[in-house]
Amino acid sequence: MMSVLEKRSAVLLGAGLGMFVLAFASNAIVPLVMYRDLPEQTALEVVNQNTLYQLEDLRLRYREPFEQHVGQATNETCAELLKTGRQVYVAEGCWHCHSQMVRPVSNEPLRWGPVPNSPEYQNELQRPVMFGTRRVGPDLSREGGRRSNDWHAVHFWQPNTVSPHTRMPRYPWLFDGSPDKPNRRGLGLILYVQWLGSWLESYPAYEDYVPLKQQLANPAE
């Protein structure tokens, strides 16, 4: 028995190939089979009214930059801008400090919003999926619509002006010199963040709890 397990073929094919394939089949192929009726949606297919509203808002607020970097506000330009925004989100490593995954524990649904399901993530803008790995800043999967586009522009330009204790770095390269002139990357990132959670009934998903201090101040509520 021992000698079989020490053979070159056993190590090469059994341990090297066999064990890897076993794990891949059980942990990657099984969900693939389970989700076979859930095709991946394109960016265009996940454009919705809420996101189009935000796009229109961006167009009205930043008329010149929008015309220059995006052009018309259509479903197609919206999808393309979402893709740009997602690229920036990945390239800047946003997902290393912000998760996109509400867990059904630790009061997270109260803080962030509804617990997600698989169909939500089954689209082009979640390939690779942005579950995240650490929360230095808050979860963003239900961030869309909570704050205005202006807030986001100022926040990307100089985060601590709107969030005093933040550790987030500045991102001036998302603008053409000032916070009222977001470039294509800036417009894309703002739209992408506003898109997060836009497919939910409860958009925008405001934080559904009252801090303890306020509870004590207004016990009647």
Partner: protein
């Protein structure tokens, strides 16, 4: 046991070990270590709101965060491991690698990969897969180089007859695993599999990088260097077998534990949890084997500095794995997921274990490679103690920070409260990081003077010849 060794010393030209290449790999490894330390320092400063650099694209802490992790794995640890393996495999086989030219080609190609990853990330070409951030244009090259690495090392292993030593089981399997892991993780989530399913594959990839690349090479090197330095064989061959096959079976099944409480089917999450706890039991057999080996040799493990690096690393490895088995439970996950606890865990295993083992190997091999003893044994001691104290403080600090963050989040405190509460912990972490950097500075300085001694010695020999 299998049949007795029948291997004849192979006929080959040139040296058995390409010592110059081993040294090159170690130099490259240390160069990337310093890049990783610089990146870590920058992020540490950013977290305490003390980043002195201007807000420029190439200096963005978000990008340097990815440079930090990728450089540790592909620059520092990978180069160090490849160097050590270029020493160990030929000496185990009494046969060199398949091709000397190929060995050098792979060295250059790997530097292109490691440097390309850094430049690509800083340029904004990162990919959204953890530890797979290397830009998409590098990924195919990584796959090819893994194949070449595997062929170059596996060919002599497969050609040599007789029983195969434990280290070679680990190396041989790891070459196969790394090729498959790279093929899976760098391509499927990026191009083919979105969403939850892609998340499962990312979890496998991330975990396999540690579990099927760094861990098996690390243990293979321990099985090689520890008996040599102790001048006695490994205690139990059967335990070695259990350790190897246990790792091969359970480790690849762990990946999904990175995304517990995600929409990934719950039975798969449960499976990953059980497999993770099983790994802890397998690890215990390996640890028992190594401690039974050192048993009865008195204070040798402490007196011989490389052995001290190895054995302290093993104790920290055991702690890491105990931590794994506890923190992987759903009860613990509620509290610590997404917190600094996990960051502490990652530093414990990457620095406290695998970096320690590499430092031990380098401490042992550099005098042989350079032909002179270390210039200063005191600096070698400082390297050890500053590294040890630094990582111990950092891990305890981050673990405590994680618990506090978890409770504050769960108590629905405003987000800022948790950030403010983390501040003192981040300050301590920054100081611990500086201590670690000071330790590496001792090592670098010592290495430089030792290298100069070696050059001076070589020059004297040359002038005598002339």
């Amino acid at each position: 046991m299998s049949d007795a060794p029948t291997a004849q010393p192979a006929a080959f030209e040139g040296p058995l070990v390409e010592t110059r290449l081993v040294a090159w790999y170690f130099y490259a490894s240390l160069a990337y270590l310093w890049l990783a330390l610089a990146a870590g320092l920058l992020i540490g400063l950013q977290l305490v709101d003390g980043n002195p650099l201007p807000a420029a694209e190439w200096l963005s802490p978000g990008r340097w965060r990815m440079v930090h992790t990728n450089t540790v794995v592909y620059g520092f640890l990978a180069n160090g491991i490849f160097g050590a393996v270029h020493w160990a495999i030929p000496r185990l086989l009494l046969r060199p690698f398949l091709s000397r030219t190929l060995s050098y080609f792979v060295f250059y190609a790997w530097q292109v990969i490691a440097l390309g990853t850094v430049v690509g990330i800083l340029h904004g070409h990162a990919q959204g897969v953890e530890l797979g951030e290397s830009p998409t244009w590098i990924d195919p090259l990584v796959l090819v180089v893994w194949l070449l690495l595997a062929v170059n090392a596996a060919a002599p292993i497969l050609r040599t007859g007789g029983a195969m030593y434990v280290s070679l089981w680990y190396f041989l399997a790891a070459y196969v695993w790394m090729f498959l892991t790279t093929a899976m993780g760098n391509f499927l989530p990026e191009y083919f599999v979105a969403g939850t399913n892609g998340g499962a594959i990312q979890g496998l990839f991330l975990h396999d990088l540690v579990g099927l690349f760094i861990t098996p090479f690390g243990w293979g090197l321990m099985y090689y260097f520890v008996p040599i330095l102790l001048k006695k064989p490994i205690w139990s061959h059967s335990l070695s077998l259990i350790g190897f096959w246990g790792l091969a079976f359970f480790y690849p099944l762990n990946g999904i534990h990175h995304f517990l409480y995600s929409p990934i089917p719950m039975f798969l999450q449960h499976g990953a949890i059980v497999a993770t706890i099983a790994v802890e039991m397998v690890v215990t057999t390996v640890i028992v084997n190594f401690f039974a080996t050192v048993w009865g040799t008195g204070a040798t493990w402490y007196r011989v500095l490389p052995l001290r690096w190895f054995y302290v690393g093993m104790v920290l490895y055991f702690l890491t794995c105990v931590q794994c088995a506890i923190q992987v439970t759903l009860t613990f996950q509620q509290l610590i997921h997404f917190t600094d606890w996990v960051v502490g865990h990652a530093h414990l295993v990457m620095f406290g274990v695998f970096s320690f083992w590499l430092f031990g190997i380098m401490t042992y091999l550099f005098p042989i490679l350079l032909g002179v003893p270390w210039r200063s044994t005191a600096l070698c001691e400082w390297h050890f103690w500053l590294s040890f104290v630094g990582i111990a403080v950092m891990v305890i600090d981050l673990t405590a920070a994680g618990v506090i963050q978890g409770f504050l989040w769960g108590a629905l405190k405003p987000w800022d409260t948790a950030v403010e509460a983390s501040h003192p912990f981040w300050m301590v972490r920054l100081i611990a990081g500086v201590v670690i950097i000071a330790g590496q500075l001792c090592f670098l300085g010592n290495l430089f003077f030792t290298w100069r001694d070696g050059r001076a010695g070589a020059a004297r020999v040359d002038s005598h010849d002339a």
